[in-house]
């Protein structure tokens, strides 16, 4: 694959946190360049700082040092809300808001930062649901009536429909069975094929579609293999 200009770059990220009375450097000069079409698999032991790194990239990690560059512009020049519409994190335990599935899918478009963006049509919602194996779930269903795995896929669809440039997924398949996880893999691969970039923390399954695999250990980020 030809290397294009990175959409998102992290340079020398350092983050320290106090754990049991001593200071632990969770990110120790971590640098990373993410290009359109990348599907980056982020691995590492539990507690290695994978979630921390994703939060840093979404500018949702208070106290992190280093530089982030989006589309060639340093983070201090980009409004944080605008940043997060371009670099969107899906937290591991993504909480849906009270209301129906449809209200949740449309929620990102009710935010002030997207006031000039039209929300996708109900048909688009429906097609997205079907593609993720949620064809038996009505858009009008209340989110309290969803199973854990269904709610996780609705949350994924919500970020996909918001069309970020970089999608940060924190163990998106943790609560999914193999068939649903495969659907999720297809949807994210489609997102990357359309020019999106993806960083995905996975614990359970190796990602066959990944173009790069990185490992975070002792605060350092290492390339494991390069399938691209």
């Amino acid at each position: 694959m030809e290397l294009g200009a990175p959409v998102l770059e992290a340079r020398d990220l350092v983050f320290e946190r106090e754990v049991d009375g001593r200071v632990v450097r969770v990110l120790d000069h971590v640098s990373l360049a993410i290009r359109p079409g990348d599907i980056i698999e982020l691995r590492g032991e539990s507690g290695a700082g994978k979630t921390t790194l994703l939060r840093a990239l979404a500018r949702l990690l208070p106290g992190v040092c280093g530089e982030l560059v989006l589309d060639g512009r340093p983070d201090r020049e980009v409004d944080p809300r605008l940043w997060r519409t371009r670099v969107t994190l899906l937290p591991q335990r993504a909480a849906l808001l009270p209301g129906s599935v449809e209200e949740n899918l449309g929620f990102p478009f009710t935010l002030a930062v997207r006031k000039h963006t039209d929300p996708p049509s109900a048909e688009k919602f429906r097609a997205g649901m079907d593609a993720l194996g949620l064809d038996d779930v009505a858009l009008s269903r209340d989110v309290t009536q969803l199973s854990v795995g269904q709610a996780a896929r609705v949350a994924l669809l919500r970020v996909l429909l918001a069309r970020p440039a970089v999608l940060l997924l924190d163990e998106p398949d943790a609560s999914l069975d193999d068939a649903s996880a495969a659907r999720l893999g297809e949807a994210t691969a489609r997102f990357a094929a359309e020019g999106g970039a993806l960083v995905r923390v996975s614990h359970l399954r190796a990602d066959a579609t990944a173009t790069r695999s990185l490992r975070l250990a002792a605060g350092q980020l290492m390339e494991v293999s390069n399938a691209g």
Binding site: A58, L60, L97
Partner: protein, 268 residues
């Protein structure tokens, strides 16, 4: 009964009133409830604080100095703000200023609106009217603001995953905190709304009771109570809204990220 309708209580009767508390203390000892110390301290404080208040008010009513009235109002506001902060255990730093502002703006505005526009006291600082009304306004706003702030920060923490997920979609701190803001204001106003609903049926409000005991016509006392109750409710609502809207942002970083427990040291 004296001509003005008030039956004075003598010093002996005042001491006698403690008899019931002593009996309660004995009961507590017998049942090992561990309440004796608190009861004793509470009783002594009641005696000292209220008698001191009586002495101070007697003096202020006599001298009728505007700056003495203002000084008392400021003192009441500062003490109330300190009590608010004590009742909000996980509050972020720097809440004193915004809470004081919320208390002062609503307390002063509503008090002088009642005395100046509704009651039309001859002098704007008329201590006999201004101080008791300010006391009711500040006391109720204090409870409302403390309840709202306490609920705001506990609600944000309880829903921190939802807040994070919402911010990640591009929400501003206000958009992410809106649910918590709404429920905190509701929590702060419930006591006020309850007392408006129950007033006159379940209980006679304190001010009206006092006026009736002092020999006032019950209908006249009722009119006063309506005015004060509505004004106090408005003060509680506006005070809570100001306090909460000034406070929620302190739980977010400059970049608009939510400060969960582990992150609070970095930003403060």
């Amino acid at each position: 009964m004296p001509a003005d309708g008030v039956i004075a209580i003598g010093w002996f009767e005042l001491v006698l009133a403690a008899g019931f508390i002593v009996a309660t203390g004995a009961l507590s000892l017998a049942l090992r409830l561990g309440l004796v110390k608190d009861l004793a301290i509470g009783s002594v404080r009641t005696y000292l604080q209220l008698l001191a208040l009586g002495v101070v008010l007697r003096w202020v009513f006599e001298v009728r100095l505007w700056y003495a009235v203002v000084a008392i109002l400021v003192f009441m506001t500062v003490v109330a703000t300190r009590i608010i902060l004590k009742r909000v255990p996980h509050a972020p730093k720097g809440l004193f200023g915004s809470s004081l502002l919320a208390m002062a703006v609503t307390g002063f505005t509503v008090t002088f609106a009642v005395t100046g526009i509704v009651i039309r006291v001859p002098a704007w600082y008329e201590p006999r009217y201004v101080i008791p009304i300010a006391g009711m306004v500040l006391g109720n706003s204090m409870t409302g603001i403390a309840l709202s702030l306490e609920r705001l920060f506990s609600d944000l923490d309880a829903h921190s995953e939802e807040v994070l997920g919402t911010l990640a979609l591009g929400a501003s701190p206000w958009e992410a905190a809106r649910g918590a803001v709404r429920s905190s204001l509701r929590a702060g106003l419930i006591p006020t709304i309850n007392s408006m609903a129950a007033a006159g049926i379940v209980f006679i409000p304190g001010m009206m009771s006092g006026q009736v005991l002092a020999g006032a016509d019950p209908l006249e006392a009722a009119k006063y109570q309506v005015v004060v109750m509505l004004m106090v409710s408005a003060a509680t609502a506006v005070g809570s809204i100001i306090a909460v809207t000034l406070a929620y942002r302190r739980r977010f970083s400059a970049d608009g990220a939510y400060l969960e427990q582990g992150f609070r040291a970095h930003a403060s």
